[in-house]
Amino acid sequence: MVQQGWLVWCGERYEVAGVTGKKKKLLIVGNGMAAGRLLDELIKRDVSGFEVTVIGDERQGSYNRIMLSPVLAGETDVPAIIGKPSSWYRDRGIRFVSGVQVKAVERERKCVLTSEGNRLRYDHLILAVGSRPAKIPAENQQLNNIYSFRTLRDVDRLLNVARFHDRQSRKTDTDALVIGGGLLGLEAAYGLALKGLRVTLVHRSGWLLNRQLDKTAGGYLQRVLEEKNIRFILNDEVARFSGSHELKSAELKSGQSLSCKLCVIATGITPNKELGLAAGLKGARGVAVNPYMATSDEDISAIGECVEFKGETFGLVEPIWQQCITLAERLCNNIKLPFENTPVPTKLKVSGVNLFSAGDFITTDEHRELVYRDDKAGIYRKLLLRDNRIVGAVLFGDARDGQDYFTMLSEKKDVSKIAPFLLMGRAFYQDSDQQQDSDGAVAA
């Protein structure tokens, strides 16, 4: 699978009339979604002062990793999710080095060392090296047919297994075992189930999406996914895998053993902080940055999932988009636009499942909780209020008003007057807001 690195130069067009002096070398390590978005933001502005190089270990151009689930589910295909094919870089005079890993950053020499032993110089370095699937403590993870769900390559291999999957031979308890009931695990399980596999998902917590949903919403979600032929084992973990070369079964901590042919581990991500920290940059969970995305070395910036900001790391795209804007403003315009880590709503890409979660999602004594329940229609909506302001929203079954709640949450709108109508959606609380403002109508 290892590909030779290749270079693209477009010298003539790179020189812009009227620009004098030597261009700065801007080197972006990583070609995931953060790098792709940063390029867009840079180009939107003015990159004439830079000679831009992108170096990434995947061989494709930047693609939309979020869309891996629909690819697995067969709802879209690979070309559709590649945002930036190699021609894109060429057309914009960007040097694109693919299939190459950066081994080290040599800050004193202001260059990086690649897996091929080459050194690339930089004036300004941007780390956008992302994250990797989190490890689980189970034994025998070296067995074949145990995958993560992170890259196009993972999806490729999963699709392969699914393609050759013999639907007639049902000797196992389950065809595919998915570990992790977070967003990624659920999307993987859904995709595999759509391919006709019998899927069992093992989740360590008591309910699905326990980082985004409360127990009730998790229960609703489980009910919907069970209808899509996914079986769930909660409050359990895989202790060890068994098999000679090929995966045969997995034994759970509870003692239960499940025979299976395929396993996807999707228990979360671990920031790829090592490259930066090894070079002496500050950081703990990730590479630490200030509000302008600068690391402890002023010539090195970092964005995306490898970053740590005020102790937080990032796994969802919205804040990363903000980071890209902040960094592009600083590099191109020398404008200091501080990055703020605002709450981000959660969405799950499973057809027929509408869910939305933002802000607080577990009710505590400090919250005023408003709940809408429609068991028959499978609709659950919860808003958490503090001081008459929305601080959390969990929607299941009908997520249409999520964005509106999110706006109110972000704007800290006082909702005390419209509280009874809030959960029914915009059409009702806006109406009610206006009516009450205008006539103060009273019951009876």
Binding site: R368, Y372, M424, D431, V442, A444
Partner: protein, 884 residues
């Protein structure tokens, strides 16, 4: 009034309205054993084509879900034989052991004359007791005695035309706009045509009737007799007396005048005693003195009093003193409440009457009736009047009571005590068309009776006009006519021979014959010319005013025009009146409770409560109270307040009403246990009665008033009729179900359980829950159709009602609309019409207000634009008020 087109297309029959004492002729269109439309009968003298909202909704109140279809014995359906055998054997047993005075009948002004006649005959002639009284005791007894004292007979001197043809109309304690809407319309039209005709209203309240009044005198409650004593003194002082008439046709004038002058010598005294502006009193006295044609209409406002008889006579004295009686446009005019209170009075179906205007004060009368009836057990003394009758039941002296077509558990004073009494009573029989009235719930035997459009017989209205209330529909289930039920009962007691009537006309003929028996102009009621009426003439009975004798076969419009009265010497009697105020004075913490009717409801709502349209105008028990009192008692407009007296509570919504005098509140009399948790006005009324006639003082009860401290309030809309587990609820009939307004001083454990436990059969719920318990909403569905909506809140704003929501009841609701159901609003773009003002066309206040803003500045303009007020016209006073 034009007849609706569909009326012409189908079979039509002429009948009489079953509601108030106006006695309007109704033309009903019938198809498939159903009344499909009604219109006023243009040929009927009482209404000449007009109908009020209640009357024009008659076809919408035909099918009550609570209609009783089979006889019930101790809650189980039984055969007629079983039910009547049980009742008859109990009656016999009790009579054998305790004598006939241990049983009683309690009747109603809703009964037809033929029913009344049979009941009276059975009780007084055969069972042998005069313990037969009626709810007419609650409305008309004072007028009856006042008439008898003055005229020697219970006879209304004039007719409705007099109200139109007079030059001065004084309405005393009479809110005709609500209680007698068609008479009001006739007056209003006359006033429009002859604006010089003066109208005066004497009423502590500024009622809707005052809209057409030139002068409203908001007198001190109960001070009416002072006012008329003052008038008598004034008439004497100003030489306004008809000395000739007094000398030729009356007795006792000087004594009556002396007493009046002794008590109320002049206008100043009258104004002071009645708490009125002196100039206003002078104006009215001058008008009375200066006009030949004066009609004084009086009704419950003075009748329902501990001195109601005296008030009636004080008023009649003034007419006698000026000869303003028996002439066109001149008469004292008692207007009665019920459709056939007059028929009951004619029959003598009251404890202190005998029969056909004969009385217990005359042994010849007793003997005459005894022989006419061939009565084996003739009662020879008066029986117990309503209040005393129920006291005797409470004390165990009366052990069996048969209640027909009325609901005393709601309407009697101390209604709470009446319930206790009935609960204790050995045998309670109830005949009614509705099976679950508050009274029927307490009965051992409940008998299904026919109702309007099924029952067949005559009624008499306030102007002595007899009409046929026609039966033209088949009775449902096993329902039977009251007279038939009683005849069967009589047979089971061994009196079959005397109660073997093939048809109503046979009863009517007997009644007519009795009225003429040895009459010789000694008794007012005489319809002897009808004693041989042919069956076919009876079936197409032409309305006629009694007396109907060989001398006046076409009836009699006015009495006493010849100066001849029904007293032994033919002279009218002045009665010296020592005016009295009501018995109970309020303490500093109390207000005076006044009770009465509202426009669109009838009595205890058993019929009118089933039509959504009739609850659109006023849908909830309320308390009219002066704004000063709202402040004084710490109330808030629109909130609930509680009136309390004798351990009973009346919950009502506070309505700021400058029409009330400070210190006095008004509440509607209609609500009862079927329509509200605890809003029975009469339960708070003290059992104080007029010593002469036994009529209770419904218009004057000192009560406490306090704000209701509610923990939460809300509403419930549901398809099914329930009794919510709630301290306060009021039921409002909708087209497809019911709405309840709710409030409670305490929270339920959870609102969710509270509502779901009351609808155990519903499994499909959607709800909104607030951990701070400031609100809760839920909706329940069956097969996707909306069955229940519940909205509760601690504040008053959140549980807001919308007509739109009520219209969704029973509809299939998609998952998207389920949000709207819980919100209670359809989302953007739908206007709420507001409280219904025009019940006929369901035009709401918001719509009207908008039209007024948009330039509709007259009732006519509003009518042209929105149709409001163009059908029955009942809402016109309110339309006018909205325009001010």
């Amino acid at each position: 009034m034009n007849m609706p087109e569909k009326l012409i297309a189908s079979d039509t029959v002429n009948t009489t309205c079953c509601y108030c004492g106006v006695g309007c002729g109704v033309t009903a269109a019938v198809a498939d054993n159903q009344v499909v439309a009604v219109a006023g009968n243009t040929d009927h003298p009482a209404n000449k084509g007009r109908l009020c909202i209640k009357g024009s909704s008659l076809h919408e109140t035909q099918s009550s879900p609570d209609r009783l279809l089979t006889p019930m014995l101790h809650g189980k359906a039984v055969s007629w034989d079983t039910a009547l055998d049980y009742g008859a054997s109990k009656f016999r047993e009790i009579i054998e052991q305790h004598g006939p005075d241990a049983v009683a009948f309690y009747l109603s002004g809703q009964l037809l004359t033929e029913d009344y006649y049979v009941a009276n005959k059975l009780m007084k002639g055969f069972i042998g007791t005069a313990n037969i009284d009626t709810n007419s005791r609650l409305c008309m007894a004072s007028a009856v005695v006042a008439h008898k004292r003055a005229f020697g007979s219970d006879a209304v001197p004039g007719c409705y035309e007099d109200l139109e043809q007079t030059d001065l109309l004084i309405l005393v304690g009479s809110n005709t706009a609500y209680a007698h809407p068609v008479v009001y319309q006739r007056i209003a039209k006359a006033k429009e045509e002859r604006p010089e005709m003066k109208i005066v209203v004497l009423d502590p309240r500024r009622t809707a009737t005052c809209e057409i009044a030139d002068i409203h005198l908001p007198l001190r409650p109960g001070s009416d007799a002072y006012f008329f004593n003052g008038l008598l003194s004034y008439l004497a002082d100003t030489n306004a007396l008809d000395r000739e008439f007094i000398a030729a046709h009356t007795n006792g004038f000087e004594e009556a005048l002396a007493v009046a002058q002794g008590q109320v010598p002049d206008v100043t005294a009258a104004a002071h005693l009645c708490q009125l502006d002196r100039n206003d009193v002078v104006r009215v006295y001058q008008l009375f003195a200066g006009n030949e044609k004066v009609v004084t209409v009086f009704s419950q406002g003075i009748n329902q009093s501990s001195s109601g008889v005296d008030k009636g006579n004080a008023l009649i004295n003034c007419h006698l003193a000026t000869g303003k009686i028996g002439k066109v446009g001149a008469a004292p005019f008692s207007i009665t409440g019920q459709p056939n209170a007059m028929g009951g009075r004619e029959v003598g179906g009251l404890a202190n009457q005998l029969a056909a205007h004969m009385g217990y004060d005359n042994s010849d009368d007793i003997n005459r009736v005894e022989s006419f009836w061939q009565a084996p057990n003739m009662a020879r003394k008066e029986g117990l009047k309503a209040v005393d009758m129920f006291r005797a039941i409470d004390e165990g002296k009366i052990k069996a009571v048969w209640i027909m077509a009325t609901n005393p558990a709601v309407t009697m004073p101390e209604a709470g005590r009446i319930r206790d009494a009935l609960q204790k009573c050995e045998l309670v029989m109830v005949s009614d068309c509705i099976g679950n009235t508050d009274t029927a719930k307490l009965a051992d035997v409940v008998l299904p009776a026919t109702t309007w459009s099924e029952k067949h017989g005559t009624v008499t209205n306030s102007e002595r006009c007899i009409s046929l209330q026609k039966g033209f529909l088949n009775a449902p289930g096993q329902a039977r006519h009251d007279w038939q039920i009683m005849c069967d009962f009589a047979a089971k007691l061994g009196f079959s021979e005397h109660f073997d009537y093939p048809h109503q006309v046979d009863i009517f003929r007997e009644h007519a014959a009795l009225s003429g028996l040895d009459n010789n102009h000694s008794r007012g009621f005489n319809i002897s010319a009808l004693a041989d009426i042919k069956r076919e003439d009876y079936e197409s009975f032409t309305p006629i005013r009694w007396p109907v004798t060989t001398g006046s076969p076409k009836g009699t419009d006015r009495l006493f025009g010849n100066g001849q009265f029904y007293t032994p010497d033919g002279r009218a009697r002045f009665i010296p009146i020592q005016a009295r105020l009501p018995v109970h004075e309020p303490t500093a913490e109390q207000v005076i409770l006044n009770t009465g009717r509202i426009r669109d409801q009838w009595h205890t709502m058993s019929r009118t409560g089933t039509a959504a349209k009739l609850l659109g105008h006023v849908d909830e028990p309320y308390i009219d109270i002066h704004p000063h009192d709202i402040e004084r008692f710490g109330l808030l407009e629109g909130d609930l307040a509680v009136l309390a007296n004798q351990g009973q509570r009346y919950f009502g919504r506070v309505k700021a009403a400058r029409s009330q005098r400070p210190g006095e509140v008004f509440v509607p009399m209609h609500w009862n246990g079927k329509y509200a948790a605890s809003s029975c006005a009469d339960a708070l009324v003290n059992a104080v009665v007029d010593p002469i006639c036994g009529q209770p003082e419904f218009k004057h009860s000192p009560v406490r008033i306090n704000p209701f401290k509610q923990a939460w309030n809300g509403f419930l809309v549901c398809a099914e009729d329930i009794q919510p587990h709630c301290e306060y609820w009021a039921k409002i009939t909708l087209d497809g179900g019911y709405k309840f307004r709710l409030a409670d001083g305490e929270f339920p454990a959870t609102w969710s359980d509270w509502i779901k436990n009351q609808f155990p059969l519903i499994g499909d719920w959607v709800d909104v829950h607030d951990s701070h318990d400031q609100f809760y909403r839920a909706a329940g569905f069956s097969d996707g159709r909306l069955q229940v909506v519940f909205s509760a809140a601690t504040d008053k704003v959140s549980a807001r009602e919308m007509r739109w929501l009520e219209q969704q009841l029973g509809e299939e609701i998609d998952s998207n609309t389920r949000f709207a159901i819980l919100a209670g609003i359809p989302g953007a773009g739908v206007e709420d019409v507001g409280a219904i003002v025009c019940s006929c066309y369901q035009v709401g206040q918001n719509t009207i207000a908008k039209a007024i803003k948009g330039g509709c500045t007259s009732v006519e303009a509003l009518g042209a634009k929105l149709k409001c007020g163009t059908n029955c016209g009942s809402c016109i006073p309110e339309l006018k008020a909205l325009m001010r």
